[in-house]
Structures are given as structure tokens and as C-alpha cells.
């Protein structure tokens, strides 16, 4: 029954129709929302007592670092759905997430490096959090290369999905790296189990920017998925009628 539901409502044709209608409005809405969150964080919050104004990079670095990991988890879920139920759309979405994930991870590393210059006095340190995030970036690039190297895209989808499921073990390592090892990178200021260690004046725009950035990046994933569907389904009859 689940299989029937998925095949009926999660076909590339149905997904494309919905994405074509709502993809761009979603992207524009969250882009403006994130822009608003950034203006709030950059210009309407006080400077940090220790870091001064450089802490404002938090409104870009934290949402990007969070999304870099979330995208890999989503990719693992869609890959598992593809391997279990052989749902083509799941493979297309998985493949579409990889370049967006690589871009977001690159930006997380870049913004962290820039933040490190005034804060730590160095732009790079081989500590556990930074190194495991670099590994995540390399994994995204590896997955993109792997998929591109196959002529047979069905085979590529299978190898890609299996590798994503193996690579997802890096996510808890990134998350826990600041607790398991002694790192230059600080531990999390916001957790689900304890009170945030960040002042509400800075916390609210941060939460707002994280939510808006999640929406913005999923908007990009929708756009990327549309592109992948068009590439992969171009000989199907329904595509001729769009």
C-alpha cells in the first residue's frame, strides 16, 4: 500500500507539476525572509562583548553549517527510499541535493575560516570539527564525480545511494566532534536538551535566519530537482507537454 501511494503521488511528473507551480514563489519568499533576518542580525543587534562585530558572521555561518549536515541526512533518506522502494524521484532528488550540499558546505568552511582570522588568529586549524566538515565537502564532490562518471545512470543512482548511506556516518561525527575531542571550535550554543548559552537579543535573529535559510536552500533543491527531472525524463511523453 505504501509502495502504491509513493508511486502514485511521488512520480517525477507529479513532483515536477508541483515544483513548477510553487518552487519559485517558495524560493523568493525564503530569500526575502533570510535577507530580513540578516538585516536584523547585522544592523539591529549589539556587538558581542568579546568578539565585537565579527560575531555577526554567525548569521551566515551557523545556518550554512547546519544545512550542510541536514542536506546529507535528507540525501541519505531519499537514497534509502530509492534503494528500498525503487522510486526514481528519490534518486533524482538525491542527485540534485549533492551540488547544493557542496556549495553550502564550501560556504560553511569559507565563512568559518574568515571568522577564525579575527577570533582565533588563524583561518585554518586541523581540529575535529573543521576536518570532519572538510571531509563532508570532499564527500559531496566525490558523489557528484561518481554519478557523472557513469554512462548508465540507473547504475549510477544505485552506487550513489549506497555511498551516501555509508557516508552519512560522518554526520554524527561532525555533530559530536566538539564533545569527543578537544577542539578550537566552540561547542554548540543551541541544543535541544539545554537552555541556549546565547543572549536572546542575538538568539532570535539567529533562529530566524536558520529557519529562513532552511527554506531558501530547500527552494534551491526544488529548482535543482526540476533540472534533473528534465534531463533524465526528456524522452518521456509527459515532458513534451510541459
Amino acid at each position: 500500500m505504501i509502495k502504491k501511494f509513493f508511486h502514485q503521488f511521488a512520480s517525477p511528473k507529479s513532483f515536477f507539476a508541483i515544483a513548477n507551480k510553487f518552487g519559485k514563489p517558495v524560493l523568493v519568499f525564503f530569500f526575502l525572509l533570510y535577507f530580513g533576518a540578516l538585516v536584523w542580525g547585522l544592523f539591529f543587534t549589539p556587538p558581542d562583548a568579546v568578539q565585537g562585530d565579527s560575531y555577526r558572521i554567525i548569521y551566515m555561518h551557523v545556518p550554512a553549517s547546519f544545512m550542510a549536515q541536514i542536506l546529507f541526512v535528507v540525501m541519505a533518506i531519499t537514497s534509502a527510499v530509492f534503494l528500498i522502494w525503487k522510486l526514481k524521484l528519490a534518486a533524482y532528488v538525491s542527485k540534485s541535493i549533492a551540488p547544493i550540499g557542496a556549495i553550502v558546505t564550501f560556504f560553511a568552511l569559507f565563512s568559518g575560516s574568515i571568522w577564525g582570522i579575527p577570533t582565533w588568529g588563524t583561518w585554518w586549524q586541523w581540529d575535529a570539527r573543521i576536518t570532519s566538515t572538510l571531509i563532508l565537502f570532499i564527500m559531496y564532490l566525490g558523489l557528484i564525480s561518481l554519478h557523472a562518471s557513469f554512462e548508465n545512470k540507473d547504475k549510477a543512482d544505485k552506487f550513489f545511494s549506497v555511498l551516501v548511506l555509508i557516508g552519512v556516518v560522518n554526520i554524527p561525527v561532525i555533530k559530536k566532534s566538539v564533545d569527543w575531542w578537544s577542539t578550537l571550535h566552540q561547542s554548540a550554543s543551541i541544543t535541544l536538551t539545554s537552555k541556549p548559552t546565547i543572549d536572546p537579543v542575538m538568539l532570535y535573529p539567529l533562529m530566524f535566519s536558520i529557519v529562513a535559510f532552511i527554506g531558501l536552500i530547500f527552494g534551491l533543491v526544488i529548482l535543482s530537482s526540476q533540472n534533473e527531472i528534465l534531463k533524465r525524463e526528456k524522452y518521456k511523453s509527459w515532458v513534451k507537454n510541459i
Partner: protein
């Protein structure tokens, strides 16, 4: 708000350069990704229409 306080807010003290650098890179990446994806989708649709 006078001009001096506006300049103070925008310059963000000694570390304003780092913050602005990250802002510029972020919006360059986001903007170019959106433009590139839109162009690819438009091109794919055009090719499909021409073949069809």
C-alpha cells in the same frame, strides 16, 4: 539617524571587512546558483520543445 551613526552601523567597527566579505560571497554564491539553475531549466525546456 544622522550620517555618522549610519556609517558606524554599516562599517561594523574593526571587523566590518570580514563580515562584509562573507555577506558578498554568500549573495554571489546564492545569486549565481539561482541564475544558473534557472538558465539550465529554461535551456532544457527549449531543447525538449525543439525536439518535440
Amino acid at each position: 539617524m544622522n550620517q555618522d551613526s549610519l556609517i558606524n552601523i554599516l562599517s561594523m567597527g574593526d571587523h566590518g571587512f570580514y563580515v562584509w566579505l562573507v555577506v558578498i560571497v554568500l549573495f554571489t554564491i546564492l545569486g549565481s546558483t539561482i541564475i544558473l539553475l534557472n538558465r539550465k531549466i529554461r535551456q532544457a525546456k527549449k531543447e525538449i520543445n525543439e525536439e518535440g
